[in-house]
């Protein structure tokens, strides 16, 4: 949710960085969205196209990379991907907080970010 305000911040951050480097225009933005982050990539892309019009990011490409969530189990030391419920009620495989190895309770270590990884820009 809040894709509009998050995308606004993304465009702002990229613009600031581009201006720092005195870029003529931005060509590509590489964004990493974690599996557990409350952001739909499709909506982020939609708002991105709207928000970059008439800016230094116009015509740039937004490349979204999804990052899988990772958990760590304090009981057995497992570290890796989530266990997923395959219950048809969710319509999607849903991540749960029990260890795939020992069913203990896990801590989330990755998958909650929305990170601008890199920017490609044309220098003036």
């Amino acid at each position: 949710m809040h894709e509009y305000s998050i995308t606004t911040q993304i465009v702002k951050s990229v613009t600031e960085e581009a201006e720092k480097h005195e870029a003529k225009n931005v060509v590509e933005v590489h964004l990493v969205i974690g599996d557990l982050t409350f952001l739909n990539p499709e909506q982020v892309k939609f708002w991105y196209e709207v928000l970059i019009e008439s800016t230094i990011l116009e015509k740039s490409r937004l490349r979204i990379e999804k990052k899988e969530g990772r958990v760590r189990c304090p009981s057995c030391g497992y570290e890796g991907s989530f266990k997923y419920i395959d219950d048809p009620v969710y319509h999607i495989p849903f991540p749960v907080l029990s260890c795939p190895n020992c069913e203990g309770i896990v801590d989330i270590v990755d998958g909650k970010e929305c990170t601008i990884k890199s920017i490609k820009m044309v220098v003036s």
């Binding site: 949710m1 809040h2 998050i6 911040q9 993304i10 951050s13 960085e17 480097h21 870029a23 003529k24 060509v27 557990l36 982050t37 409350f38 419920i85 219950d87 009620v89 969710y90 849903f94 991540p95 749960v96 907080l97 029990s98 069913e103 309770i105 909650k112 970010e113 929305c114 990170t115 601008i116 990884k117 890199s118 920017i119 490609k120 820009m121 044309v122 220098v123 003036s124």
Partner: protein, 230 residues
């Protein structure tokens, strides 16, 4: 062209029109997390335990806090932050129990954020409280994404919302310590299977403790207090 030393090459720079590839690693969501961490640091410094109270509109969050205040008032100096888009109705209800009550109006924002909570923290004397309840805006979706700096979280749902609240809003249950299943006196009339709701919670988050409550009479609230470690 003058050369500073035999080993120093000419400066390399991008030609005009060349593409710079800059690594950034900027996490956009860090801003709220940073403020939340700062809130937690401040609360811990003054030994104030903070508990998020979340849940849908009308589920019984304020009623639960009122009943918890009755049980805990003798043991803790309590304050409550109450988030709503508008009005201070709930904050006034809570204030009648003789505890510090801070209404936070979020305006058009559908959840509390760490910035608003930080302002509320500055408005109270932390030396004079040791337990803080932060009641969020009625919403089972957005509060999950915005940490406020608390130590523990409780989500309140009620049987009048039907049998599917947990499976329809799974994310908020991933990050909670206790789930109050409220208005149990109406379960039969609503034809809601409470044990099924509790099972739904456990299957998403085995560490969350589901507790049946009736926040009008106070039934189940002592168990909530115990589950929160208070």
């Amino acid at each position: 062209m003058p050369v500073l030393s035999l080993n120093v090459k000419d400066v390399v720079r991008a030609e005009e029109g060349e593409i710079y590839d800059i690594e950034l690693d900027t996490n956009i969501l860090k801003a709220n997390q940073r403020l939340a961490d700062e809130n937690r640091r401040l609360l811990r410094k003054h030994r104030v335990e903070a508990i998020d109270v979340m849940g849908s509109t009308g589920s019984g969050k304020t009623s639960l806090i009122e009943k918890m205040i009755r049980i805990l008032k003798g043991r803790y100096r309590i304050a409550v932050f109450k988030g709503d888009l508008t009005t201070s109705i709930d904050a006034e209800i809570i204030g009648r129990h003789g505890v510090v009550s801070v209404p936070i109006n979020t305006g058009k924002e559908c959840h509390l954020d760490a910035n608003l909570v930080s302002k509320a923290i500055k408005s109270v004397n932390l030396k004079k409280i040791d337990l803080l309840f932060i009641e969020n805006v009625g919403n089972l979706i957005c509060p999950a994404e915005f940490p406020l700096g608390s130590d523990k979280r409780i989500v309140v749902i009620s049987v009048t919302e039907g049998p599917y609240m947990v499976v329809k809003h799974p994310f908020i249950f991933m990050d909670t310590n206790v789930v109050a299943v409220n208005k149990i006196d109406l379960a039969e009339a609503m034809e809601v299977d409470i044990e099924r709701l509790k099972q739904d919670v456990r299957s998403i988050n085995p560490s969350a403790v589901p507790v049946k409550t009736n926040c009008r009479t106070g039934e189940g609230v002592p168990r909530v207090v115990e589950a929160l470690g208070l």
